[in-house]
């Protein structure tokens, strides 16, 4: 099935093979994981201990250091996922579909986190856990798009068919995301003017901006680390019967507990 990789291929396609990407991903995970941890600790420290209290919103505003990076990451992850899906449909590469599969749960998690933290921010600030604001509503729909993607993948048994079907769904979704966003915004402004505008926030203090930036970078590093970790599991699971997984297993020795469980010989 999977011949050993020859390093002669173009640099772009060299790591498109699971066999050569697997060790690379393994080497990258600790770096991104450590970066995520350090950035998150630094960001939380600046955000919760250094940044000044907001004169209008008090201490409650500090949740935005988690909320805003999560919301950005949820949107951005969907775009990245759709990009990998487009690659997998266009070039029929296994790895890009696996990357999309690996990103979806993290994106859904971030969408959920941004909704959840938004509710906790909205309660003291707006006086309500949930407002039918354009951003809230479109984030909720984004969460449903993620769940639909994951559910469609999970309900098709053949992994290659699941790859392609969910890729089509992600692409239809990514065309729809801006339409959903603008339609929801228009719907909202037609219904009623927003009582509290999120866009007209007072200018941020420098330290708040630094904390936000650190947390955003932490979210990026976390997403990359987790997606790589997950894609490694997916690769092992789906290619359990191919040569390179067998080689890995032999190299790891008979006592290695990580690979033996998943493989059926």
């Amino acid at each position: 099935m999977n011949s050993p990789v020859t390093p002669s291929g173009s640099i772009w396609f060299r790591y498109a093979s699971p066999a050569s990407f697997y060790p690379l991903a393994g080497r990258l995970i600790p770096w991104f994981g450590a970066a995520a941890a350090i950035l998150a600790i630094a960001g939380l420290y600046v955000g919760f201990a250094v940044a000044p209290t907001d004169w209008q919103q008090g201490e409650a505003y500090r949740i935005i250091f988690i909320h805003v990076p999560a919301a950005w990451m949820a949107m951005f992850t969907y775009l990245v996922m759709a990009f990998w899906c487009a690659l997998s449909l266009a070039f029929n590469t296994r790895l890009s579909a696996m990357m999309a599969q690996a990103l979806a749960p993290t994106g859904a998690m971030f969408a959920f986190v941004s909704l959840w933290t938004g509710a906790f921010w909205g309660r003291p600030t707006w006086g309500a856990y949930w407002v039918w604001d354009a951003r809230l509503t479109s984030t909720l729909i984004l969460l449903f798009l993620y769940l639909g993607f994951i559910a469609l993948r999970a309900s098709i048994d053949d992994p290659r068919r699941a790859d392609r079907a969910s890729a089509v769904l992600a692409l239809v979704g990514v065309i729809n995301v801006p339409i959903i966003y603008f339609s929801v915004r228009w719907w909202n402004t037609l219904h009623q003017g927003s009582t509290i505008s999120m866009t007209a926030a007072p200018k941020m203090a420098q330290t708040m901006l630094v904390a936000m930036l650190l947390m955003t970078l932490a979210a990026w590093a976390y997403t990359i680390a987790v997606a790589l970790y997950r894609v490694r599991s997916i690769m092992i699971e789906r290619e359990a019967l191919s040569g390179w997984v067998g080689d890995l297993e032999r190299k790891a020795g008979p006592a290695a507990p990580t690979l033996t469980g998943a493989t059926t010989r």
Binding site: L145, A151, I156, R161, A165, L169, V172, I179, I180
Partner: protein
């Protein structure tokens, strides 16, 4: 049944549309269920909310649209599943006629059989909720432009879920988020007409959406059908 002699795109579209309409006419009970469901769901709202005519008039467009959206989900699983089950769909994939045209014909037939009855029944719902004649006309226009979009979105999702486990509940999860803009513009058309803003902008956007799904829908659905037959 006539063999698919027509290999041109429009011939294929016409053939598939005729065939599916004939099949639909032979199972009228299933079509009737969709229509009854539509009326039933709209009648539940006054019972659940309140019989206050002012409130009902305000929420009527939204109710009609939500009911139409849910009713359009009902017929979707039939769109490809039967043809997939008996192998007809596979023959369509292999046929010399372009698959996109065949799929478009099927979706057109699906809309004629399940969407048009809802459009025609919308005035009844409008009267039940006390909408005036002009508002009913806007509601009918918005449904006439919007239900084909729902059919196309549903067709893509139905083709993607072919052979998947848990078909129909999964279908709802896939279609409903994608249908949000249609719902907003459709119900919004009647509402903005009622508030004196005019329905032109909403109806134009629905029309634009209709063109977009007719351009991209056939390709996406045909691709999804091919994926199901790999």
């Amino acid at each position: 049944m006539k063999p698919a002699v027509a290999t041109g795109a429009f011939g294929a579209l016409w053939w598939a549309c005729q065939r599916d309409l004939r099949l639909a006419m032979r199972s009228r009970a299933e079509l009737a269920v969709i229509v009854v469901f539509f009326l039933l769901v709209t009648s539940l709202f006054p019972l659940a909310v309140s019989p206050d005519p002012v409130l009902l008039r305000a929420i009527a467009p939204g109710i009609a649209w939500v009911a139409a959206l849910l009713a359009s989900l009902l017929g979707l699983s039939r769109l490809f599943a039967a043809d997939h089950g008996d192998g007809t769909l596979e023959q369509m994939v292999l046929a010399p006629a372009p698959l996109q045209a065949l799929v478009a014909g099927k979706v057109l037939a699906h809309w004629l059989a399940t969407g048009v009855p809802l459009v025609l029944l919308a005035p009844v719902v409008g009267l039940q909720f006390g909408l005036d004649t002009d508002a009913i006309a806007v509601l009918v226009a918005s449904l006439a432009l919007g239900t084909p979009i729902l059919s196309w979105l549903g067709a893509i999702a139905a083709a993607l879920t072919l052979g998947a486990r848990g078909g129909s509940s999964l279908l709802a999860l896939l279609v409903l988020p994608l249908a949000v803009p249609v719902l907003i513009f459709g119900a919004g058309a009647v509402e903005s007409y009622g508030s004196g803003l005019g329905a032109d902008a909403h109806l134009s956007l629905l029309g634009a959406g209709l063109i977009v799904v007719w351009v991209f829908g056939p390709a996406a659905t045909a691709l999804a059908v091919r994926i199901a037959h790999e």
